[in-house]
């Protein structure tokens, strides 16, 4: 579990995060949503230690990354997997090389054991057969899946995903969402997803944190979001005619078929 307590972050005198508190639960897909410029990327970067908050604490199962000495942060990072918006795969490495990378850098396993683990992760994201391809030779969706395989190679306790669906077609987006949700439940990972994608919000949002103008405005899950009275959240999530119709349907019928109810 990750607990964020009263974090404040400013840039050049402009406060981007105002006393934000939130809890990200183990074994759940935790979503951070909000408009562009609302501060959710700053929150995500603060969570993974790429930005240092001005005040407040970020507890990874009780360990505060804000006040932790550098060598402990380095150790903690071995428990973190991250999926970047642009995948951030190493161009000079093949798919297998990318997935092997954290194993080579941080484990003392034999080469055979590392290969076994890498092939297992590649199979898990349904990329068998693409091991020897370079990132430039595969599609955006496949790149995202390689990045997921790399992120789970070390069995992380925490998985962070920054806009995992950006640049993907709707069908591939759903596949990535399902994969992230399955992995979260299968391995009991604390998954935090920063997203704009309303399909993700309504499909896999087990714990949704809505950030508006640098403040945490709402917390709930994908069922509660249909009946929220929060105006800013309603404007954000149900901005399109289609989603408004979905909300009206759910309000009238009291339910909606989710991916996990197949």
């Amino acid at each position: 579990m990750i607990e964020v307590k009263d974090i404040v972050k400013s840039f050049d005198g402009r406060t981007v995060l105002h006393d934000v508190s939130a809890t990200f639960y183990t074994g759940k897909t935790n979503l951070i949503i909000g408009q562009s410029g609302s501060g959710k990327t700053v929150l995500m970067k603060s969570l993974v230690g790429l930005l240092q908050p001005d005040s407040g604490s970020i507890l990874f199962d009780g360990r505060d990354i804000v006040t932790m000495p550098a060598h402990e942060v380095k150790e903690l990072r071995k428990e973190i997997g991250m999926l970047f918006q642009g995948s951030a795969l190493f161009d000079s490495e093949t798919v297998l090389g990318n997935v092997m990378f954290p194993l080579v850098m941080f484990t003392d396993k034999s080469r055979e054991e590392m290969l076994d683990r890498a092939h297992f992760c590649i199979r898990r994201v349904n990329l068998t057969g693409a091991e020897n391809k370079y990132p430039s030779e595969i599609s955006g969706g496949m790149q995202k899946r390689v990045a997921i395989a790399r992120a789970i190679a070390l069995n992380p306790k925490y998985l962070f995903c920054d806009e995992p669906n950006s640049g993907l077609d709707p069908k591939t987006s759903i596949l990535i969402d399902e994969l992230l949700s399955d992995i979260t439940h299968e391995y009991g990972i604390t998954t935090v997803i920063n997203t704009h994608d309303m399909n993700s919000v309504l499909g896999i949002g087990e714990n949704i944190i809505f950030i508006n103008k640098g403040r945490r405005e709402w917390v709930g899950d994908m069922t509660q979001i249909y009946t929220t009275a929060n105006e800013a959240l309603n404007d954000f999530v149900f901005a399109t005619e289609l989603f408004q119709q979905v909300r009206n349907y759910v309000k009238a019928n009291g339910t909606v078929k989710h991916q996990d109810q197949k």
Binding site: I80, Q85, F106
Partner: protein
């Protein structure tokens, strides 16, 4: 303003170098990356060094012959002057200015692209010291391989002059070869090699620094690459003066 900016940049460069010269996380990975960089930065530069050296060596020999027309100056001076120009300046300073363009822009654009595509962030989040992981193998590889490039440059340049003697009638082969051997000072070779080590460090470290701190997109990677080449070229010229004063006087 300019001075304070320069000092701030120098301070950041020093802090960057402190991170670069940390102990590698994995010596095996470091070794493999260093060998790969030797191939990419060093061996891949050999064709360029050979082509440039051959032609410049030939040009130096022709120009020496054209300028040394006094009957009081012995004819073998063409070989002697060609040799000393190559040993003292061309094979190290000028060669490194040329390599600052090729290798420097290669390093800055590679690391800059990794920065803007979040590959460096990915390394940092994994707990890898990205500056050490990416930059140290480049610096070590290029500094170690530079003496070989200098020696190749010296040999090829002198062959360029020799070919002028063979294929033209402006100087005889025997006088050119005699000039190459006359009044030879071994220290000039060491002087060139020592200078080249400093220049190789400047090229690799300065280009890496500019690439590592890129912010923005593809346009900014291009700017960083240009800044890396310009800054390392100026530093090479500055250190050329300092090292010449220290080593030759």
């Amino acid at each position: 303003m300019l001075i304070s900016n320069s000092l701030a940049t120098f301070g950041r460069y020093c802090l960057f170098m402190k991170r670069v010269f940390a102990l590698p996380d994995r010596w095996g990975v470091f070794g493999r990356r260093t060998v790969a960089e030797v191939s990419k930065l060093g061996i891949d530069s050999i064709p360029l060094v050979i082509v440039i050296s051959l032609f410049i060596g030939a040009v130096i020999a022709i120009q020496m012959q054209l300028n040394i027309t006094s009957p009081l100056i012995p004819a073998y001076s063409v070989g002697l002057a060609t040799r000393d120009i190559v040993l003292l300046e061309f094979s190290n300073s000028i060669l490194c200015l040329i390599l600052a363009g090729k290798v420097g822009s290669n390093i800055a654009s590679e690391i800059g692209t990794m920065r803007v595509t979040e590959q460096i962030d990915a390394l940092e989040i994994m707990g890898v010291n990205s500056s050490n992981f990416l930059v140290l193998p480049k610096i070590i590889a290029f500094v170690l391989f530079m003496p070989f490039l200098v020696i190749i440059c010296i040999g090829t340049s002198l062959i360029g002059g020799y070919l002028v003697a063979v294929f033209t009638d402006i100087i005889s082969v025997s006088r050119y070869v005699y000039g190459l051997q006359a009044l030879f000072n071994e220290w000039y070779v060491w002087y060139g090699l020592i200078k080249s080590l400093f220049f190789a460090f400047i090229i690799a470290s300065v280009a890496s620094f500019f690439g590592y701190y890129v912010k923005g997109g593809a346009l900014d990677v291009g700017k960083a690459s240009t800044n890396g080449v310009v800054s390392s070229s100026i530093l090479i010229l500055l250190f050329d003066v300092i090292l010449t004063k220290l080593l030759l006087q």
